[in-house]
């Protein structure tokens, strides 16, 4: 019975798998210094930026791919990727009317409005969106409203041109180009991304959001996000992503850096829904992302919330370095894998400052033939007195062909630290299902209900608009997948 439903719903197709027929300006395939110079020239970058890229590239050449994650995949051929692809603008854009109608249609289909007017009709609520299509940012909404408050929210390329001092000061501060293989690659070839600076004492009046879309075939997406919250500032930031359905594996290697100053707070939420591959595990996005934040000064806070449902292979560890005294790091995650998806995700909490606190709540759900791993590090450095960490990682298994794993590393060098970790693995109980069915809730809905209940602690942390989307996503990705 359950198997039939599983079969039926595993067929559920990826709803964002369409492609957009749009002219793109592409770099030739492959990677060498010339390509990097090409990208840099395309973006009209200053000399120091090109230097940064080339240095990263030279480093990258001496690095080897990491193999420690609990995933297996065919190594991407780095010479077979197009590192730059931009929708070809018909001419210089002055207003929305001049945006390629194909592009507008795409985002309409995705349910994302780049038309600020629609805000009034309530289609999209109070969110400023930066949209990254393949490699470049196509449109940032509400820029003017934000500018009134002094908030800088623009594409990374614009920031390089308009705010070079800020970019120079903060880029690579948390994720240096030498950090790891994919961060180095990203530093060399990143094409765009979002930049956000909240000045002293400002609370962002709306949610800021970036929407990533891979469209062109054979391309990789390498974007970079940099968020800086100055003293007493606050911002809530959202990130979403989709990609068309293709047989090939496309590479997405992003870098996200967050820096918070004194008393500042950044809340970063992701709903990751890259194309996961078909039900036989063919195609899908390789999602190798480095996300890290630093609580640079006292009393600051960084909170990561993620809902991971897409990608063929995920390799992602949003981390927080708690440097300032009394700083707080949080990580809330729901990772769902189905069919042949593989996810190795978790976090790192590095406690350096005194009285630092961190919370980790991770909920893994595996169905089909998938493998889902939590990998985390909690490190209390010497001198981080009264540091406190609580971690909880739960796994839910649906069916007997999938795997759920936990690899927590806990390293403590301070006697006043208190660190707790607990993990459980279980499945949806027959009794829970029976209870629901007895009350007239069908199998389908009952599973949705139970899974949503299981993830509630995390979903509650999402901004409202995202929470609804996330719940729907979860339901679509696993309805009925119970054994």
């Amino acid at each position: 019975m359950a198997n039939e439903i599983l079969e039926e719903h595993i067929q559920n197709e990826y709803k964002w798998g369409f492609t957009t027929d749009i002219d793109a300006d592409e770099a030739p395939k492959g990677l060498n210094e010339d390509i990097i110079r090409f990208i840099s020239a395309k973006k009209n970058e200053p000399e120091w930026m090109l230097e940064f890229r080339l240095k990263a590239y030279r480093n990258w050449q001496n690095m080897t791919e990491p193999h420690w994650a609990h995933v297996s995949y065919a190594k991407p051929n780095f010479q077979d990727i197009i590192y730059y692809s931009a929708p070809k603008p018909k001419k210089e854009l002055a207003s929305l009317d001049e945006v390629d109608p194909e592009l507008l249609k795409t985002f309409e289909k995705l349910g994302i409005s780049i038309d600020e007017q629609k805000r009034l009709t309530g289609v999209q609520s109070n969110i400023a969106v930066d949209i990254v299509f393949d490699s470049v940012s196509v449109k940032t909404t509400f820029k003017e409203t934000l500018a009134e408050k002094g908030i800088i929210f623009c594409s990374f390329s614009e920031a390089v041109q308009d705010h070079p001092d800020l970019v120079k000061k903060y880029m690579g501060m948390v994720v240096p180009p030498t950090d790891n293989f994919y961060a180095a690659l990203n530093s060399a070839v990143f094409t765009d991304g979002s930049f956000c600076y909240i000045p002293k004492g400002v609370r962002s009046p709306m949610e800021l959001s970036t929407y990533f879309r891979i469209n062109a075939s054979g391309t990789g997406q390498f974007e970079r996000t940099l968020i800086i919250a100055d003293e007493d500032a606050f911002v809530s930031y959202l990130e979403g992503c989709t990609a068309p359905q293709r047989d090939e594996n496309q590479l997405h290697a992003a870098v996200v850096e967050i820096i918070t100053h004194k008393n500042a707070e950044v809340k970063y939420s992701t709903v990751q829904n890259w194309y996961p591959g078909d039900k036989n595990g063919k195609g899908g996005i390789f999602n190798f992302v480095t996300k890290r934040g630093i609580c640079l000064e006292d009393n600051s806070k960084i909170s990561w919330t993620q809902v991971e449902t897409g990608s063929a292979v995920t390799w992602k560890y949003p981390s927080v370095i708690l440097k300032g005294n009394n700083s707080v790091g949080e990580f809330y995650s729901v990772a769902l894998t189905n069919n042949y998806q593989q996810a190795d995700t978790g976090t790192k909490m590095i406690h350096i400052g005194k009285n630092t606190r961190s919370t980790i709540i991770s909920k893994g759900i595996s169905a089909g033939f998938s493998n889902n791993s939590y990998r985390g590090l909690v490190q209390i450095k010497k001198g981080a007195s009264n540091a406190r960490n609580f971690s909880q990682c739960d796994s839910l298994l649906m069916g007997d062909k999938c795997g759920a794993h936990t690899f927590p590393y806990i390293e403590i060098k301070d006697k006043t630290a208190v660190v707790e970790h607990e993990a459980t693995t279980s499945k949806i109980g027959e009794d829970q299902l029976f209870y629901c069915k007895q009350r007239g809730i069908d199998n389908e809905k009952a599973i949705g209900l139970i899974v949503n209940g299981y993830c509630k602690e995390v979903l509650n942390k999402l901004p409202m608009e995202f929470a609804v989307e996330a719940q729907k996503l979860l339901a679509i990705s696993l309805e009925g997948s119970v054994g």
């Binding site: 936990t406 806990i410 208190v418 607990e422």
Partner: protein, 426 residues
């Protein structure tokens, strides 16, 4: 880097080969493949995931550049204080079974002999569980295996008293020992086995012990590992255990001293309805390091495993717990529980824990918990308010923390010894 790695291994191999005679009981093919594995992989350092917190290579580089062969020069006077009164005491000196120092007693169903005395069918059992390719230190032991003990309980026999194997190292210059043991418990047999580790010599020893244990159907093996090797000793203890249907394997490990102690405890639950219980307690001081590494491999349905490890780290010492529960695809209805609790007593001490779950079956109940902290300040206050000095109150609380594990000892003289040394270490 790679060149350096291989020089350390090569140096070790050279030094050991200088003294090594022919190991008659180990099949030649095993020795050849063990040496090949060692040469190709080298001894593990902290880049090796399983030895992340335990750098064997640096120990060998720093302390064991030059190793000598040490022979048995001990007399029964040296051994007497190590014995346990209610047990049959057997002695292994520097990796070799010493019949002269061991007690002789004829017990129905119990066979004890040195590995050189094995029949050809018994020889085949050696290395059947501890495989050279899985760990460089197993390979090292296999290539230079000492003439250890073959310990067998025939089926349907319950051995009325515990058997105590004393592994004692003693030498006057730095040396390496590779003690080996094979324990075979027949169907429906029962025995309590105590393994104690000491170093009573004046020089440093790298002790690389491998024990293969097989627990037959419906049998029960209760083991105690008692480690009090002192600050001159660096030891790696590998237990490779295979548990059969309806049987029960229990091991309690007490680590009271040793400069570096690494315990690899790998248990295969190879048939349905069997269970394994692993417990451990350590207290470290000075610059000591204790690393408990366990793997419970649930291969078949309806098995159960429990782990409870507690540790107290003082001064500049390090305590590590790395436990892995591995549930294979077919192992439905598995119950696996793991818990690790630690107390840090100093700002220079370190606790590392890595409890892992790797699960491929859905109808299972698996959980792990780990916590690390300080002595409860409220409890401390409670005791102080009742006129108990801070120092004593702290000791009392630490004793209470450890008591749960000390109470698991059912051999009175061993319990007394553990309790005495634990209190001394506080």
């Amino acid at each position: 880097m790679i060149a350096e790695k291989s020089t350390i291994t090569h140096n070790l191999l050279e030094q050991l080969q200088k003294h090594a005679g022919k190991i008659a009981f180990m099949p030649d093919a095993e020795i050849v493949s063990a040496i090949r594995h060692l040469e190709s992989k080298g001894v593990p350092n902290n880049k090796h995931e399983d030895y992340k917190y335990c750098n064997i290579e640096s120990v060998l580089r720093k302390e064991f550049k030059q190793v000598e062969q040490e022979l048995n020069t001990l007399t029964s006077n040296d051994i007497t204080p190590l014995k346990l009164e209610e047990a049959i005491n057997l002695v292994v000196v520097n990796g070799n079974y010493s019949e002269a120092l061991s007690e002789k007693m004829i017990v129905k169903g119990l066979t004890i002999k040195s590995l050189t005395e094995l029949s050809s069918s018994e020889k085949e059992l050696l290395s059947s569980q501890a495989k050279s390719e899985t760990d460089a230190l197993i390979a090292l032991n296999t290539a230079f295996s000492g003439n250890g003990i073959f310990f067998q309980v025939e089926k349907n026999n319950v051995i009325p008293m515990p058997v105590h194997i004393i592994y004692v190292n003693s030498g006057n210059s730095n040396f390496v020992t590779n003690a080996r043991n094979f324990t075979h418990i027949g169907a429906s047999a029962e025995v309590t086995l105590i393994e104690s580790f000491y170093n009573i010599g004046s020089s440093k020893v790298f002790s690389n012990f491998v024990s293969e244990k097989f627990v037959g159907e419906n049998a029960r093996l209760t083991c105690y590992t008692f480690q009090n090797e002192g600050s001159l000793s660096y030891s790696v203890n590998t237990n490779q255990v295979k548990v059969s249907k309806y049987s029960n394997y229990t091991n309690n490990t007490y680590t009271l001293s040793g400069e570096l102690v690494r315990n690899n405890h790998n248990v295969e639950l190879a048939a349905e309805n069997c269970e394994a219980h692993l417990n451990g307690l350590f207290i470290t001081n000075g610059t000591q390091s204790v690393d408990n590494h366990t793997l419970i491999d649930h291969q078949k349905p309806n098995c159960e495993s429990n782990e409870l490890y507690k540790g107290i780290a003082k001064d500049k010492s390090t305590g590590t717990f790395n436990g892995k529960i591995f549930v294979r695809k077919d192992a439905q209805k598995t119950n696996a529980y793991q818990s690790s609790k630690n107390i840090l007593m100093s700002d220079d001490a370190t606790i590392n824990t890595k409890p892992q779950l790797e699960i491929y079956a859905d109808d299972v109940k698996c959980s792990h918990g780990t916590s690390t902290g300080k002595v409860d300040t409220e409890a401390l206050f409670y005791l102080k308010a009742r006129g108990i000095g801070e120092e004593n109150a702290r000791k009392l609380l630490l004793q209470a923390f450890a008591q749960e594990l000390i109470d698991k000892i059912e051999v009175a003289s061993l319990k007394e010894r553990v309790l005495h040394l634990f209190e001394k270490a506080l």
